[in-house]
């Protein structure tokens, strides 16, 4: 990671806020992962079935395939957990952010915030194009552009090693 970020020069308050934001996001991902792992009944099936908008057909057809649902269940459970751990610990931070954004983009496409569409999962009425998922995607993009793992996080050790 070394060279790319040399130009970024954070003040201590900037570092603190960015790291805090990263840890909070990590907590959120970790909880979402653990809660799914510990619930033997959890499956992404109803979420896929709840899809609306231009890609709904694709998500519904995924839901119809038992093997695919099984694979998505596994990827969601462990993917969210490892992304969460990565963000909290600052371990493979940039990679965690990229995968986190990828998952969120898939969530957003399955449940786009169209003006007159409301969903069962989660049940919170309808938004106008912008919803929490979209905000999370861009929050993660910001963290990707302003990396902190190599300052506060296990990545610090790794970057030291690669620097050598």
């Amino acid at each position: 990671m070394g060279k790319k970020f040399i130009s970024i020069d954070y003040t201590s308050i900037q570092t603190f806020l960015l790291v805090t934001l990263r840890v909070l996001l990590g907590w959120y991902f970790l909880y979402e992962g653990i809660v799914k792992i510990t619930n033997p009944d959890w499956t992404c099936y109803p979420y896929l079935m709840d899809s609306q908008g231009p890609f709904a057909g694709l998500y519904h057809s995924m839901a119809a395939n038992t093997d695919l649902v099984f694979a998505f269940d596994f990827l969601n459970m462990w993917g969210l957990t490892f992304i969460g751990l990565g963000l909290i610990l600052g371990l493979f931070t940039q990679l965690a952010l990229v995968f986190g954004m990828l998952i969120l983009v898939l969530y957003f496409c399955s449940h786009p915030a169209l003006a007159f569409v409301s969903y069962a999962m989660p049940t919170e009425g309808s938004y106008l194009w912008v919803n929490k998922t979209l905000l999370e995607i861009f929050t993660m993009a910001v963290l990707l552009a302003f990396p902190t793992g190599h300052i506060v996080g296990i990545d610090r050790f790794l970057s030291k090693r690669t620097d050598r």
């Binding site: 201590s12 009944d41 079935m49 069962a120 506060v152 610090r156």
Partner: protein, 528 residues
């Protein structure tokens, strides 16, 4: 995390000689690790609270959590020789439930983008080890289709390998006389149910008969008498008997979770022509293809009418209206759950308020049954011209239970039994104290809000190992197993008698426009 240190971190490798990890590096590298400790602590606390809540709730609502086991299939190797009488809408469904679909149905179901589940469910359906040896339908097109369906033993589409076609009988009596018919499925208009079932029983043939059990009271007595004398295995076609949630609901009642039950409210809501029994008229149907005289049977004579043939439910001459077709489903469900028995009195009112197409049976109907010995009323309300879903609800002093494919139990805010827990805040009367979702494995019934929402949308029924099975298939399977084991099934002739008589009381109350009473001693319906 000072500014100067950050700068130091950013220095390029070219200018920075290799160095060991400093203490600062270690502190900064591991600075966020304690967050995981906080997470674990928070998680443990939350889990403890949830576990505590669940275990306390489990003491209150002590229900077994396992899904209802499917009854094992009894197989003695020899296929049962089946006969089918009536291959209309229901006859086709019953044949599929028994394992036989017409090749064109297979072709359509296989490619139906919106409902591939139908095809998969059918193909996964257990082979019941039966052979359809005879079919009878007085409309030649249906008769031929029934034979082709019965011959489709490999469940293939058009051009598939067929089995032997069964004999197409012109009359049901010829079918019943055939020696290779052990058991018969009756899916004809209401006015033919009992006469056919009686003749079948007289010949020692086992009977699966569509509901209602009979069109008239005398026929019902005759049916019970013959079935009992001959000892045949009789199953009335209330497939709701196999609904998991009904079986679970019975456990709720047996364990007295609702307190003293005083009112039951059930309903039917439909709002389309099909639901109002205005079925399509087949283009090939005419006087040459339909045996009209046989259709009329003991009903009052009427000149040939395609409407009456295909939409017979709309006329009292052949039908028992909402009472026989729809009330019976609700009544039988509750009779299964609470063991209602025959009501002491029934009043009814309604009219033909929407479908003014010449029909004689009401399209809006209310029926009130009284059970003073059980201190409860049974209220039924139906409309064929509005789709608002009104649940099937059992109301007790301590709680209420709504029954659909799922079960939802709420504690009553003024409950005596739960007053302490309500005060403590353990029970919130606005949140279900128990939720049962079929197919949900390992569930203890205390589900999350999301799960509840999904259950209400029916989205949680089929997933993972929660395999969806057609209840009609299970009902036929139970009947066949009972034939092999020589025992009576869940909706046997005693249940059929209670169902039939309760529906007759409702019909007579509707027609007489006054309260019908059940004279238990003389076993007859009387008017006060």
């Amino acid at each position: 995390m000072g500014n100067d240190h950050s700068k130091q971190d950013m220095t390029t490798p070219e200018t920075n000689p290799p160095k060991k990890l400093s203490r600062r590096d270690i502190i900064k590298g591991l600075a966020t690790v304690p967050v995981l400790g906080a997470f674990a602590y928070a998680w443990a606390r939350k889990k403890k609270m949830t576990d505590n809540y669940r275990s306390r709730m489990r003491e209150i609502v002590n229900l077994t959590s396992q899904p209802v086991e499917l009854a094992p299939s009894v197989k003695d190797g020899k296929p049962i020789g089946l006969g089918l009488i009536g291959f209309g809408v229901r006859g086709k469904q019953l044949m599929r439930a028994a394992g036989f679909a017409h090749p064109t149905w297979i072709d359509i179901a296989k490619t139906d983008q919106n409902n591939t589940g139908n095809y998969d469910n059918f193909m996964e359906q257990e082979d019941l080890n039966v052979s359809v040896n005879g079919v009878c339908d007085i409309f030649t097109v249906y008769s031929k289709a029934a034979a082709e369906t019965a011959a489709n033993v490999n469940r293939e589409g058009m051009g598939g390998k067929k089995g032997k076609e069964p004999v197409q009988y012109k009359t049901y009596l010829e079918l019943l006389d055939a020696p290779d018919i052990d058991a018969v499925i009756i899916a004809t208009p209401d006015h033919w149910h009992a006469p056919m079932a009686v003749e079948a029983a007289k010949r020692g043939k086992h009977v699966y008969c569509e509901k209602p059990a009979s069109w008239s009271v005398p026929e019902l007595f005759e049916l019970v008498k013959v079935v009992k004398e001959k000892g045949i295995v009789f199953q009335l076609g209330h497939q709701g008997r196999q609904t998991e949630s009904y079986i679970k609901a019975k456990e709720v009642i047996d364990k007295d979770i609702l307190g003293k039950i005083n009112l039951i409210e059930v309903c039917t809501n439909r709002n389309d022509s099909n639901g109002a029994w205005i079925y399509p008229i087949h283009p090939l149907a005419d006087e040459t293809t339909i045996d009209w005289r046989q259709f009329i049977g003991q009903a009052p004579w009427h000149d040939f009418s395609l409407e009456r043939f295909f939409r017979w439910r709309c006329w009292w001459d052949y039908s028992t209206g909402i009472n026989g077709d729809l009330l019976t489903h609700e009544y039988d469900a509750l009779n299964q759950i609470i063991d209602l028995g025959i009501p002491s009195s029934v009043s009814a009112s309604g009219g033909i308020y929407f479908w003014k197409d010449g029909r004689t049976v009401p399209d809006v109907l209310q029926v009130v049954m009284e059970f003073p010995k059980k201190d409860m009323s049974f209220l039924y309300s139906a409309t064929l011209a509005n789709n608002r879903s009104r649940g099937k609800v059992i109301m007790g002093h301590d709680g209420n239970m709504e029954i659909s494919a799922n079960l939802t139990i709420y504690a009553d805010p003024s409950s005596t039994k739960y007053s302490k827990q309500i005060q403590e805040g353990l029970i919130d009367p606005t949140v279900p104290i128990y939720l049962y979702i079929p197919g949900r494995k390992g569930a203890d019934g205390f589900a999350t809000a999301t799960e509840q929402y999904f259950a209400s949308r029916g989205l949680m029924y089929t997933y993972r190992d929660g395999k969806r099975v057609d209840t009609t298939h299970l009902h036929i399977k139970e009947w066949l197993n009972c034939i092999r084991a020589r025992i009576q099934p869940s909706c046997d002739i005693d249940q059929a008698f209670e169902e039939g008589m309760s529906a007759h009381m409702a019909t007579q109350a509707t027609l007489e426009n006054r309260t019908a009473f059940w004279d238990e001693e003389n076993m007859e319906i009387v008017f006060g």
